[in-house]
Point group: C2
Chain length 352, copies 2
C-alpha cells in the first residue's frame, strides 16, 4: 500500500462501532520496546538508528500478524505526509517532527501501527473502535510476542521492559480510551470527574494526546503508572473507571433530555448541524466543536440523517494535511478554511 | 375587519416591491393635525378626548378614500392587541401605552393608518413598499384634504398647521424611509454616512423609530425640520439624500462581492440561513440580525430559495405580540423563543 492510498480509506477504528461506542470513540494500547544491546534511539548515531529500522523492518516482513502491513520510511516523506500520518493517529507528534532515521509500520486496516525510533526503538499500538481495551491489548501483545522472538526486547527481571524514559519502564504499556463527554461538559460536572480520575492514578488529555487541550469534548484517559502491576490488571482498572465515567455521562445525557432542558440541547445540536451544512469558511477548532454537538445529537437519536462513522471521518479528513492530500496540493490556512467548509457540506449532503 | 383578521394578512408595504426595494424596505409620510377649537389631546378631559374620537370616526365613515378601513377603539383592546398593532407599525409606542380615550383607523391593505389622540388629535400615515415617498405623500395628502372638509384642521397663516409640540408645526409632516444598510455596516462606513445625514437636517433612528437602537442593520431616516419648507421640497430633499445613501450601499455591496471578500459574505449569509432553518430556541434580536444577513443574501442573488417578502413577513410575525396572536394564547418569553424558532423553520421550509 502506498501512503496516498490511505487518503480515501477509513481507518477501522473510526467505524463508530463496538461496545459503548455512543460515548467511547476508541481504545488504544501501546507498548514501548527496545532491542536488547542497541543504544536508545535518541543517543544512537544515524547508522545505529538505521540498523534498528532495518532490524524491525525484517522482523515485520516475516511476521504473520503484519502480513499485509505497509512500511513508511519517514526520512523519505515530506512534512505534509508526516503530518498526515499524525492526523490519522498512526504516528506521534514527536516522531513526525524528529530528524532521525525513523519509520512506521501500518497494518492494512490501520488498527496496528509500529513507530520505529520514536522515544523507544519500537512503539507498538493497536486502536479499536469503542470500548475494547482488552481486545486491543491481546492483539498488540500477540504481535509483540511474535516480534520478540526475532528482535529480543531489552528486559530486566527487576525492572521489566527497559525504556528510554523510566516513566514507561515495567510493562512499557499505556492503555488509553478516547471518550466523548459533551454532557458532562454541558452540565459542568467534567472537572469533578477529571479530578477523581487523577486520584485513581489515571490521566486525562485532549484529542491529540500529551500537551493538547480538550477540544470538542473529547478526553483521552490513560494509565499514569506502568510499573508494579500486570498489564491485564492495569487494563481492568482503567476499564472499571471508564465504565463509571460512561455511567456519569449517560446520567448527564438523561438530564439534558429531560423536559425542561431538551429544547436547549436540540437547539445546540441543530444549530451546529445547520451551520455545518451551510458554512463557507471554517477553521479546525470550530469544526471539531460543531461536530461534537452533532455527534451528541446522533448518539441521542435526535437526528438520523447522518451516521457516527461519517462524523468520525469528518473529524479526521478536515484536518490540514488531510485537506491538502485530498486536494493534491499545498493550501494556505485561508484556502483550507474554504476547502474544509466545502468538504463538510459535500459529506453531509452525501450522507443524508 | 376584526383585529384578529390582521394576524394572517401581509401588510401591503411588506411585499418587498417598489423602487430600490433591495435596499429600501418602506417609505412613510405622516401628518400631524388637530381639530380647530378643540383642546390638545394631552390637556383634554376624557369627555373631550371621546368627542375627538367620535368626530374623526364620523369623518372617516363618510370618507371615499377610507371606505374599506377599520376602526379600533384602543380603550377596548388589551395590552397584547395594542402591542400587536404597534408591531405592525400601525400605531406608535406612545399610543399603545397611553391611558386616554384613543383609537386607530386602518385601511384595508394597511397602507394608511390614522391614530386618534396620540400627541395630536390626528396622526395620519401612509406606508409604501420601496422608495415611494412622493406616492405616500400624495396619498396621505388626499386623505387629509378630504377629512379637512369635515374636521377643519387648526391652521395659522404664520405657523402653518398647529401641533401639540412646536417641533411638528408648519407642515406637520414627517417623511421617513426605512433602509437596510448591512454592507455599510460590514464595511464600517455607516457612522460616516450617519454623521453626514445629521448635517443635512435629517435624523437616523432604529427599526421602531425614536429612541430605538439600530437592529438588523435597519435605519429609519427622516426629516428633522417641519417648518419653513413646502412638503414636496422636504420630500425632494430626503429622496435626494436617500438616493446617495443607496449609491453608497450599492458600492459597499460591490466591495463585499469582490473576489477577496465574496466567500466571507457567503459564509455570513449561509450560516445565518443554516441557523434559521435549524434553530429550536431564538430571541427577537438574534432573529432580526440573522434575517438581515439572509436578506442581504437574497438581495444579492446568493440564494433564490426565499423571497424578500417572506423575510419581511418573518420580521413582523416573529415579534412577541404576533407570536401570541398566532398561537391564540399568552406565552412566556421562554415559550416565545421556542415558538419563534418553530415559526421560522416552518416558513423557511414552506417558502422553498
Amino acid at each position: 500500500m502506498k501512503l496516498d492510498d490511505l487518503v480515501y480509506r477509513t481507518s477501522e477504528w473510526l467505524k463508530g462501532q463496538g461496545p459503548s461506542s455512543e460515548i467511547v470513540m476508541s481504545s488504544r494500547v501501546r507498548l514501548a520496546r527496545n532491542i536488547d544491546g542497541m543504544t536508545f534511539s535518541h543517543r544512537a548515531s544515524r547508522e545505529k538508528q538505521a540498523e534498528v529500522v532495518s532490524l524491525v523492518h525484517s522482523a515485520v516482513e516475516s511476521s504473520k500478524f503484519l502480513r499485509n502491513s505497509s512500511f513508511f520510511d519517514l526520512s523519505e516523506l515530506g512534512p505534509l505526509d508526516c503530518q498526515f500520518l499524525r492526523e490519522r493517529h498512526l504516528i506521534s507528534h514527536e516522531l513526525a517532527e524528529s530528524k532521525g532515521v525513523r519509520a512506521v509500520v501500518v497494518s492494512d486496516n490501520e488498527i496496528v501501527s509500529i513507530m520505529i525510533n520514536e522515544e523507544d526503538h519500537l512503539r507498538l499500538q493497536a486502536i479499536e473502535s469503542g470500548l475494547q481495551l482488552m481486545a486491543a491489548w491481546r492483539l498488540i501483545d500477540g504481535i509483540e510476542s511474535e516480534l520478540d522472538t526475532q528482535l529480543r526486547f531489552a528486559f530486566s527481571k527487576e525492572w521489566g521492559y527497559l525504556t528510554a524514559c523510566p516513566t514507561n519502564a515495567g510493562t512499557g504499556m499505556r492503555a488509553s480510551v478516547m471518550l466523548h463527554l459533551p454532557s458532562l461538559v454541558l452540565t459542568k460536572q467534567i472537572s469533578k470527574v477529571l479530578q477523581a480520575i487523577t486520584k485513581l492514578g489515571l490521566v486525562a488529555r485532549g484529542l491529540y494526546g500529551e500537551g493538547t487541550e480538550p477540544l470538542g469534548n473529547y478526553f483521552q484517559i490513560s494509565n499514569q503508572v506502568t510499573l508494579g502491576q500486570a498489564e491485564e490488571e492495569i487494563i481492568d482498572n482503567i476499564e472499571r473507571v471508564i465504565k463509571q465515567i460512561i455511567g456519569h455521562e449517560e446520567n448527564a445525557r438523561k438530564i439534558l433530555l429531560s423536559k425542561g432542558r431538551r429544547q436547549l440541547l436540540e437547539d445546540k445540536v441543530f444549530r451546529a448541524y445547520g451551520i455545518l451544512k451551510n458554512v463557507r469558511i471554517i477553521d479546525s477548532s470550530e469544526t471539531v466543536n460543531l461536530l461534537s454537538a452533532l455527534r451528541l445529537g446522533v448518539d441521542l437519536g435526535l437526528t438520523e440523517d447522518i451516521s457516527r462513522q461519517a462524523i468520525n471521518e469528518l473529524l479526521i479528513i478536515t484536518q490540514p494535511a488531510h485537506l491538502q492530500k485530498l486536494q493534491g496540493r499545498a493550501l494556505s490556512p485561508a484556502q483550507r478554511d474554504v476547502k474544509r467548509a466545502e468538504l463538510i457540506r459535500e459529506r453531509l449532503e452525501k450522507s443524508k
